[in-house]
């Protein structure tokens, strides 16, 4: 088998997947308002076709069993034709540094394509109901299509530069969609915050790319891996710059995937319409950081991986703690997303490669589901988001309730539900890392402990949400009169609930309840090295300790039990416990004051001190000198001063010059111009000659 497994035609069809939503975007943004139904069906149908194509490629990729045939780039070997575009220089001499666009397809890409097109299609359908009657209804679909295009392009890029191009484009659409209701200042501000915060991470990523380009003269991912294999002696000895560049690239993931300390934008991003939160801020875009780490995995040295594991596990725990104290239903889910992204990052850092990416997939299904269900609740509640005003919705919104329960159980990691298999694998991986350690042995205990604790917190805050929303008595007028939502909204909920059940282990078909034979680790496996332009993967290792299994089930059930005791049975009073916790509760409630810290020590100095200082310097010092020189010139020309010779002459000459030139201009209109030029140039030459000899 060589790289012809997928032919140029295949790659062209792959490009059709992002091209469909792009075309839909163009049609929708220019002509949407004149189409029937304001054109909502254009992007929706486009996504439907894209989904079909993506599933086709997924099945084709599943049909290839050669595990060494893991990564495929459309960038051809020298002397063969392939699908690529010399982007920076079309006719650069071969060997000169250049940026070449190519498609990169492997099993990870195949999975991502299905996830992105699947969630995107469902969100499109859901939005038909959710956004009904909005005054910018058509434009909403245009933005969704633009987002889908960018996200699919990101997934297919075989070159880091294009990955970054699409990476920024998803950031742009995220900005546009968070601020979709921009009349609300909070929404406008949230978009701003999201863009700037992620851009800080992106700047680190760009710096990492610059370092890589400096050393390898390319940003083509496969070529980088090849050269890296040579540089590191088959990934044995890691030069310092590789670690540094890897960590800088990881900065991009920290921003995009909302890892501590750049997580602050994601909760605010909930100002966007709820379908946006589901698609962009839960399932796909925020997972792009995880995808980047997975795609670029070979590049991360062991020390870089340790940092990645630390950041991820700390974020998982940190955000889970905050999630416990939130009252806004979408903010609970937002912190939950931050926490789950931490799980994925931590898994990759711990070496549990398949587990982390499997969690990306399962999380995409059930978290998109949870957001859409919360959106259904919000619509049913007439745009009320505070859980203190909900209650008793179980009977009034049965479909929403049952599907949300399924997705919640999946998120909590209860056996039989998809989230269980991925989360269990992550915890197993973290414990494996703790047991086998690395250079700094004791540090590796932290991820294992943090992830187990966070798992308990996760089920606590999720069931807190369930009990507050769906059980008890209605606590407001709106809750009394809540109603189920239309089918365009409930059908996507049911599909996502089904995926939250069966996407990891189809146990209903094969009875693999404990997930000993999951399909995912066989498909997306740990990359090991590069040989002849292909990535060699490790045979799927199946880590299945009994301890991690028992631990993860126990903490999940413990969390549910506590939530039941607090919010259903009310044996324990949440208010009283909050009082007992004192300052700690206050800190958690205020999200550990990270926003305040950033505001006070970064935003304020930059916005209110530095730039004002610079502007004042410009106005009073630089311009002050300029004006003083001008005034000095005028004064000196009235009297006579020591710099007569230096300045006055200049000014006098200038005036003379000016007068002459003005005259020249005036006469130009009458007498043609050559003579005037000659006179003018003669004067100029004389002046120049005088100055020159003066300097000599």
């Amino acid at each position: 088998m060589d790289w012809h497994t997928f032919t140029t035609v295949d790659f062209a069809w792959m490009l059709a997947i992002p091209a469909l939503p792009l075309a839909a975007f163009v049609i929708q943004i220019f002509f949407g308002r004149w189409l029937p139904r304001k054109g909502d069906w254009v992007p929706t149908t486009a996504m439907g076709f894209a989904l079909v194509l993506a599933v086709g490629f997924f099945l084709k990729a599943m049909g290839i069993f050669d595990p060494t045939l893991y990564i495929q780039s459309s960038n051809p070997p020298p002397g063969e034709t392939g699908l690529s575009l010399a982007w920076l220089f079309g006719n650069a001499p071969s060997g000169a540094p250049n940026i070449v666009f190519s498609v990169l397809f492997d099993n990870l890409t195949a999975v991502m394509l299905v996830v992105v097109t699947g969630v995107s299609f469902l969100v499109h359908v859901y939005s038909i109901g959710y956004m009904e009657g909005d005054k910018r209804y058509g434009r909403f679909f245009a933005y969704l299509a633009l987002f889908s295009f960018s996200m699919l392009g990101l997934v297919l890029s075989g070159n880091l530069l294009f990955l970054m191009v699409f990476w920024e484009l998803v950031g742009l659409t995220s900005y546009l969609l968070i601020g979709f209701w921009f009349e609300k200042p909070s929404a406008a501000h949230a978009g701003f915050k999201a863009f700037i915060t992620t851009r800080i991470g992106d700047v680190g990523m760009l710096l990492g790319f610059l370092i890589i380009f400096k050393h390898f003269q390319t940003l083509d991912i496969v070529t980088i891996f090849q050269k890296l294999g040579e540089t590191t002696g088959d990934f044995q000895h890691w030069p310092g710059w590789v670690t540094a560049a890897g960590l800088l690239v990881f900065c991009g993931a920290v921003g995009k995937s909302a890892q501590f300390p750049l997580h602050i934008w994601l909760p605010d991003a909930m100002e966007g319409p709820t379908p946006v939160s589901a698609l962009i801020h839960a399932a796909t875009m925020v997972a792009a950081g995880v995808y980047l780490v997975g795609r670029f995995y070979l590049f991360f040295s062991p020390s870089a991986l340790l940092v990645i594991a630390m950041v991820g596990s700390f974020t998982a725990l940190f955000a889970a703690v905050i999630g416990v104290c939130q009252w806004d239903i979408k903010r609970v889910l937002a912190y939950s997303t931050v926490s789950q992204l931490g799980y994925m990052i931590a898994a990759l850092g711990c070496g549990a490669y398949s587990a982390g990416l499997m969690h990306l997939m399962t999380h995409a299904w059930f978290k998109a589901g949870l957001f859409l269900q919360s959106g259904s609740v919000i619509i049913g509640m007439h745009h009320e988001q505070d859980m203190r005003h909900m209650g008793g919705l179980r009977k009034k919104m049965p479909i929403t309730f049952w599907t949300m329960l399924i997705c919640t159980l999946a998120l909590c990691g209860i056996p039989l539900f998809a989230g269980f298999y991925s989360k269990d694998a992550i915890i197993a991986g973290a414990m494996h890392a703790a047991a086998h350690g690395g250079p700094a042995l004791w540090l590796w205990y932290f991820p294992a402990i943090a992830l187990v604790v966070a798992a308990g917190l996760t089920s606590f805050y999720m069931f807190r949400l369930i009990f507050l929303t769906f059980y008890g008595e209605p606590r407001s007028e709106h809750a009394e009169h809540a109603h189920e939502t239309p089918w365009t909204m409930t059908v996507p909920l049911m599909v996502l609930a089904a995926l939250a059940l069966f996407s990891a282990s189809p146990w209903i078909f094969n009875g693999d309840v404990l997930g000993h034979h999951l399909w995912f680790p066989h498909v997306v496996a740990h990359p090991e090295k590069v040989e002849a332009g292909r990535l060699v993967v490790e045979k799927a290792a199946e880590e299945h300790g009994v301890l991690p299994l028992v631990m993860s089930i126990l903490v999940a059930l413990g969390g549910i039990f506590l939530a039941w005791a607090f919010y259903y049975k009310k044996w324990l009073s949440a208010e009283e416990w909050a009082r007992k916790m004192g300052w700690f509760y206050k800190a958690v409630y205020n999200k550990f004051y990270v926003d305040e810290f950033v505001m006070k020590f970064i935003v304020r100095p930059v916005v209110f001190h530095w730039n004002v200082a610079c502007a004042a310097f410009d106005k009073y010092v630089i311009d002050g000198i300029v004006n003083a020189v001008g005034r000095g010139g005028v004064e000196a020309s009235e009297g006579s001063g020591w710099f007569d010779k230096y300045v006055i002459d200049g000014i006098v000459n200038a005036v003379g010059f000016t007068v002459q030139v003005f005259g020249g201009i005036a006469r130009l209109f009458q007498t043609g111009f050559l003579d005037q030029y000659l006179a003018f140039t003669a004067a100029a030459i004389a002046l120049g000659a005088v100055l020159f000899f003066f300097f000599l």
Binding site: A86, W87, L88, F89, G90, N91, L161, M164, V165, F166, E168, L169, L172, Y175, G179, F182, E183, K184, P185, A188, F192, F195, I196, R199, I200, V203, L206, L207, L210, I211, F213, K214, V606, V607, N611, C614, A615, D618, I622, V626, G630, G650, A654, F657, T658, F662, I665, F669, Y677, L678, F680, A684, I685, L687, G688, A689, L691, F692, F695, L696
Partner: protein
């Protein structure tokens, strides 16, 4: 037959394409001279034709241009027209283009063409205004095609005067201050250039080959025959020459601290003049460095490259910070120009091919995006009659098309990937990272990237987002077709060269490589 005519006019010996592009506007000016003052529409139409023909010709020029021939040397120049002009002083009428000038000529013709519909609403002194505008175009184009230093200087001066009048007569309330300031600054630059010009001539005469021919002078400089053994006040002649010419061009770019004429000139200038000023006049500074300053003093350039890069770096970061503090919309855009043009110097200072490419690309990219930004400001100024950012807000809901077009311009300026500004920044940063002497600067320049994003998004937020601040703004009509037609081509170019940068870079690359050879960098 058409091909034959084309060949006759453009290609081969005796073609006059460059002269046509340069002097058709002046012909238009002469025609307008004979039109009665009151016939505004006829005058405007003639101006449109007189700028449209050079635009068409400049597109033709780009198509006929063969990039593979290289550039920056006499042999590589294309469409050459060469005649003795003032033989006593060895002054020639010597025109020619390479891959550096062709895109900029196109940009110039495009912006001047756009300036005509953008000036449609000007009612004061229409005749004089359009005559000066056409004269301005000849001056700018002339600078891009002249290969004789003296001829260049003539065009350079020819361009400054219409600009002075256009700001001083058709400008805002403080127009006289701004015009004088503009004039004195550029005059200082001109004087420095003039000194350099005469000095170079005298030196070349001393070496036995008196000439103003830039290509020949560069050749002499390369082989060390241009004042190698001279020293003035303890400093080598070449160093003097380098700094004289550098300051002359740097004022135009402009660099910190010689930049304060720019915000004032922009704030007072009418919109189309701001467009030309930011879009193409500033580029003359960068172009002059590449064509004249560096080739005539290559050794000094290599030695002081790090200084240039630092100046560029300071301009990037300082300009961005100052821009952020502005409350006047137009001043903000003006300072963003200072910041963006810093990349040009940083790229040149890196001494790497990709850095040069980045700088040259940035000249074009900024030419389109800044021109678009000034048009955007003009639209809102025409309606609200003020530019105070804090008094706008919520316009996005009333003027959706305007907001959409404006977003394209703003994100192009922000350097969003897929827009041309990103390609320029990326190339510049890569170039800067390649150079050992500029590597650390990348760390600081990259801060500018974040600050730029911040002030641009903040501007969008203050103008378009949030609730409507003023009831009166609800009555504002959305962008008119005329205004949209002015902006759309610029937006398209921002996207086109961002998505397919090789369209531009392939034209420039061989010439840049030739330039690297001329500068002794290969």
């Amino acid at each position: 037959m058409l091909g034959g005519i084309l060949n006759q006019v453009a290609g081969g010996e005796g073609g006059i394409l460059l002269s046509l592009i340069t002097f058709v506007p002046i012909l238009g000016m002469l025609v307008i001279l004979f039109i009665p003052k009151k016939q505004h529409d006829i005058i405007r139409t003639i101006a449109g034709v007189a700028t449209g023909i050079p635009l068409a010709l400049s597109i033709l020029l780009w198509f006929l241009f063969d990039p593979s021939k290289g550039g920056a040397t006499a042999e590589a120049m294309q469409f050459v027209e060469r005649h003795a002009w003032i033989p006593t002083f060895h002054i020639q009428y010597y025109l020619g283009v390479d891959g550096l000038s062709v895109p900029l000529i196109f940009l110039n013709c495009l912006l001047l063409f756009i300036a005509v519909p953008a000036s449609w609403k000007i009612e004061k002194g229409v005749k004089g205004y359009f005559m000066l505008l056409l004269l301005l175009e000849t001056g700018i184009t002339g600078c891009f095609v002249a290969l004789d230093f003296f001829l260049f200087y003539i065009f350079w001066e020819l361009m400054l005067l219409p600009m002075y009048f256009l700001i001083g007569i058709w400008g805002g309330p403080r127009r006289e201050y701004a015009a004088i300031k503009f004039f004195l600054y550029t005059l200082a630059g001109s004087v420095l250039m003039l000194v350099g010009l005469v000095a170079v001539y005298l030196i070349s005469a001393k070496e036995g080959n008196p000439t103003f021919d830039l290509m020949a002078l560069a050749e002499m400089a390369r082989s060390g025959k241009l004042g190698a053994n001279w020293s003035v006040l303890g400093m080598g002649f070449k160093t003097w020459l380098f700094w004289f010419l550098f300051v002359a061009f740097a004022i135009k770019v402009p660099i910190v601290p010689f930049h304060t004429w720019l915000p004032d000139a922009h704030v007072e200038a009418p919109t189309p003049i701001s467009v030309i000023l930011a879009g193409i006049l500033l580029k003359l500074g960068g172009y002059g460095m590449l064509r004249i300053n560096f080739p005539l003093a290559p050794e000094a350039f290599r030695r002081f490259a790090v200084v240039l890069a630092v100046i560029g770096l300071v301009s990037i970061v300082y300009g961005a910070f100052v821009a952020m503090a502005q409350k006047d919309f137009k001043k903000l855009v003006a300072y963003s120009s200072v910041s963006h043009m810093g990349y040009v110097l940083l790229g040149f200072g890196s001494l790497a091919l990709l850095g040069f490419a980045g700088g040259a690309f940035q000249m074009f990219a900024h030419g389109t995006s800044s021109a678009m930004m000034f048009l955007i400001v003009g639209v809102i100024y025409d309606r609200a009659h003020h530019r105070d950012l804090n008094r706008f807000g919520g316009l996005g809901s009333r003027m959706p098309y305007y907001a959409g077009l404006a977003s394209v311009g703003f994100f192009a300026a922000l350097g969003l990937p897929s827009m041309s500004g990103f390609v320029a920044e990326f190339l510049t940063l890569i170039g800067a990272y390649e150079g050992d002497h500029t590597r650390w600067m990348v760390l600081i320049a990259i801060v500018g990237v974040v600050i730029t994003a911040a002030y641009i998004l903040w501007t969008i937020q203050r103008v378009f987002l949030g609730p409507m601040k003023n009831e009166e703004y609800k009555k504002f009509p959305d962008i008119s077709l005329r205004e949209a037609i002015c902006q759309a081509p610029l937006g398209l170019l921002c996207i086109l060269f961002g998505v397919l940068p090789f369209l531009l870079l392939d034209t420039m690359r061989p010439s840049l490589e030739g330039l690297m050879g001329v500068l002794g960098l290969k």
